[in-house]
Subunit: 315 residues, 2 copies
């Protein structure tokens, strides 16, 4: 019997599950809404249910499931697969997600942080394919990251490495929900961009406008020629470049992969980002670190959760 | 016959050589001045001469030299042991140091960057003994660094990882010799401290005073109660803490080891540094990363060069 693997991407909005070959080809996908208010027991039950369905599909294809990988938001205790806490699931408090799923599924299960899973997905089958060291930065509602060194996620001593969004950029800058001030996330996330637009345009734009303001609308305005929107996105690009230059001088990676929604404004910020990197990082590392957009989109998390599980099964 | 190893620390001021056991105990040391103006051939000859002398001493002790490790300043091509360029040795231009020494000594030789060697020395036999991940920061004339992950130096794609001194702290800050502005080195090095003192005290201090000003004198003044000197060193501590918080959020290491001369002002800056780390990094990683002074002093480079050579011989 040939082997297959199941990857789960548990987000605050969607629960995605995929059946993959052990080479990372997706054979079948399932997506449903995550209903956070249902509580952890129902969510764990639904994950198991989706996995079971894909296991049946695998058997019908003559495939045997080797392992299940789950990417989940929050702080994960790597050796136990306990979700210590998760910003998206307020009732998850030291939830033994790995053990719960193992008991129900009678399969090996490994839990990985969602940003790390997306990083590993891009490394395995996306922009970073064939690259041994890369930094993945996801620019969405927040700014997350995952660091791949020697083809593996660098987890750090507490599984909390890669929190690139919370590097201080402006010591006395905007207050961040993490308790710090001036975090990269406060300038380079979708929320940060809306705030920057507000700060720059306020007075010249009716208050009403901001009640429904989103970063997407700002990108659209910028693409349509709005100078304030263009400046705001360019400023974001500069800030991102300063942060990346520091990471490049620290880790000298082969590649930087940028994912998340802010990526939709790629042409409007990437020149500013690259300019800061070339100006601020040492020449060889700056030239080495290709800055590229992520390729897998919504498949990155499932793919990387599967990759992480396969790696850890082999260890 | 038992084995031993020779470690060399080639600095712009001193050339240090040590005979060590394969456990890192130093059996014998030699130190002489580095005469940069002699040119690379004479310096390479002197390194070989010192190694030969210690090899004879080893033989007299019944010890056989397994490998020679050399820590050298500058950009090192890791796979070839070529010194691409070195700020301390202007005539070193793609110098094949490893091959030159191997040919002369007929022994395995490995070259490591000097800050990485010091990091590995502290990891093997100093403050980081028994720790698997640590960041070493040397606060001297400049600010250097070495990153130990899974008990090994993380070199990066071009051997240039660990350039912690050139992380941007103040985007439009002081111009740095690396071409960037606002590098950590411009605020946390001995030179940065003298400049900060100048900026803060200028007007209240006679110009003459600064002609012979050193960071050591500022530490002495601070210890003696000079408020300006105390503020300057505290400011340095804050800046260092902001940088360390970013590194802790990025890499979640077990330990941060601080070496170099600025360390002499430890009590005057460490509270400010720790305060920034606790305020700006996530709680678990901030609590995890013990910030400690280096222990090996001038022995760190030789010890770490030996450790690096032993590691690479085993690979």
């Amino acid at each position: 019997m040939s082997h297959a693997v199941i990857g789960v991407d548990l987000g605050g909005t969607n629960l995605r599950t995929a059946l993959l070959t052990t080479d990372g080809d997706i054979l079948q996908r399932h997506k449903e809404a995550t209903i956070v208010s249902d509580g952890w027991e129902k969510i764990v039950f639904r994950i198991a249910q989706n996995v079971e369905r894909l296991r049946e599909a695998a058997v019908a294809r003559g495939l045997d499931i080797r392992v299940v990988g789950v990417g989940a938001p929050g702080v994960i205790q790597m050796n136990t697969g306990v979700v210590v806490k998760s910003p998206n699931f307020p009732d998850w408090n030291k939830l033994p997600l790995q053990d719960e799923l193992k008991r129900t599924l009678r399969l090996p299960v490994f839990i990985e942080n969602d940003a790390n899973a997306a990083a590993l997905g891009e490394h395995w089958r996306g922009a970073g394919n064939g690259i041994s060291s890369m930094i993945f930065v996801t620019l969405g509602t927040g700014v997350g990251g995952g660091i791949v060194l020697n083809n593996k996620i660098w987890h750090g001593a507490d599984g909390m490495a890669g929190e690139i969004g919370h590097i201080t950029m402006i010591p006395d800058g905007r207050p961040c929900s993490c308790g710090n001030t001036g975090c990269l996330e406060m300038y380079a996330s979708a929320r940060g961009i809306v705030q920057s637009y507000w700060e720059k345009a306020s007075g010249s734009v009716p208050e009403e406008f901001f009640k429904t303001m989103t970063s997407e609308k700002i990108y659209q305005s910028a693409h349509a020629g709005d100078a304030t929107a263009r400046d705001v996105i360019k400023d974001m690009g500069h800030m991102l470049g300063i942060a990346l230059a520091g990471l490049i001088n620290t880790l000298n990676p082969e590649m930087i992969v940028l994912g998340g929604r802010v990526k939709d404004a790629w042409q409007l910020f990437i020149d500013a980002t690259r300019e800061e990197v070339m100006r601020r990082a040492f020449l060889a590392p700056a030239q080495r670190a290709h800055i590229v957009p992520s390729l897998l989109g919504d498949d990155a998390g499932m793919t990387g959760a599967a990759a992480a599980a396969l790696q850890r099964l082999d260890e």
